[in-house]
């Protein structure tokens, strides 16, 4: 006669205590994945725009020795400084309406020449080591990303900084 079988105990669910934590993890991970930032953001310091007319700028050369201004137009970059510090290649006209061409025209492909802009700024920086301010202005229809690229070109690198203090202006009369 066969032995009487023991009634088998039902197997205990060993993962029972882990179910709440798995719930928590499975809910948190999708939420955090959606919110996660895999892109690194940075900031660029800017000073408030100075709303000046061209005549006001000309009256202030004594207060601002260099007064380096870069205007971005649809044709390219125009430079302007205190006339005492003018370099030969500067036309000293900050808008295209005056008839003078840009100091740095666009490349043949239509892109702005940021490399040449940096080179020109390095040339100016060599003569004015103590100057850190640059005034940047654009025509109204210039895109924001172009302004950012101009700021990048004018900031230089940590090893060779150029003009880190950026002031925005509209200054086209």
């Amino acid at each position: 006669m066969p032995k009487r079988l023991k009634r088998l105990q039902p197997p205990q669910d060993e993962i029972n205590p882990l179910i709440p934590i798995m719930n928590l993890v499975c809910m948190l991970i999708p939420f955090l994945l959606l919110s996660a930032a895999f892109i690194q953001y940075a900031a660029i310091n800017v000073q408030a725009p100075k709303i000046q007319s061209a005549s006001q700028q000309q009256q202030q050369p004594d207060q601002m020795p260099l007064n380096l201004t870069v205007m971005v137009t649809n044709e390219g970059f125009h430079f302007k400084v205190n006339p005492q510090h003018r370099l030969p290649w500067m036309a000293m006209e900050t808008d295209s309406a005056s008839g003078a061409g840009p100091d740095i025209p666009k490349k043949p492909d239509g892109e702005y020449d940021y490399e040449q802009l940096t080179d020109k700024l390095k040339e100016i920086k060599e003569k004015h080591q103590d100057e850190n301010q640059i005034i940047i202005g654009c025509e109204d229809n210039i895109k924001y990303e172009i302004l950012i690229k101009v700021m990048d070109a004018s900031r230089g690198t940590d090893e060779s900084p150029l003009f880190k203090d950026v002031v925005l202006t509209r200054g086209i009369a």
Binding site: I15, I39, Y41, A42, A43, I44, A48, Y144, L147
Partner: protein, 191 residues
């Protein structure tokens, strides 16, 4: 011979039947192989991913959601962000601290929103929202000297925004007592 005694065939049949029955019982008695779910490595992976995402989630002072309407420009800048009031200029609207303030028409502010007409720089609803943000910050600074009012504004601009709109926003912010601005960009150097 006893006529009721089982015959040889019956005995053999009974033995075979008993044997089959015994086999069935043995099958029933077979121990249940408990298949455990091995989740140790899964829990390890979950925990590591969770810690990484928690750290990533908490590291940025400003949460930025890019979309077709808001694509930040690229830059080589590596300056870190600071917690501050934000103004976001998307392709279709302007927001202050993630609250829409006004809609844009073809990337420009409608004349009706400007105090001084089409050529003016002062944007009335934007000023109101920024002024409110300033009042909040000043109220916090009055109660907590460790958080002084700095007049700092973070500007998030869609890369296609024109310079005219940027100028108007900055001018209006200046009227609302913001005098320090930081343009938020996507850092290409940090990646």
């Amino acid at each position: 011979m006893d006529p009721q005694a089982p015959t040889t065939n019956e005995v053999v049949d009974k033995l075979w039947a008993d044997k089959r029955e015994l086999k069935k019982k043995k099958r029933r008695m077979r121990p249940i192989i408990k298949e455990e779910l091995i989740i140790t490595s899964l829990m390890d992976a979950f925990t590591i991913i969770l810690c990484f995402l928690l750290k990533t989630f908490g590291s940025d002072p400003i949460q930025i959601k890019e979309s077709d309407e808001m694509r930040l420009p690229l830059s080589v800048s590596e300056m870190p962000l600071k917690p501050a009031a934000t103004v976001a200029i998307t392709a279709n609207s302007v927001l202050v601290d993630d609250v829409k303030v006004l809609d844009l028409r073809h990337g420009a502010v409608d004349e009706s929103y400007k105090r001084d007409g089409q050529d003016g720089l002062y944007i009335t609803p934007l000023y109101d929202a920024l002024h409110e943000a300033v009042q909040k910050q000043k109220a916090i600074a009055a109660r907590n000297p460790a958080v002084p009012f700095q007049g700092l504004l973070m500007v998030l601009g869609h890369r296609e925004t024109n310079y005219r709109l940027i100028t108007e926003v900055l001018y209006t912010a200046g009227q609302a007592e913001f005098d320090k601005f930081k343009f938020v960009v996507v850092s290409t150097k940090a990646q």
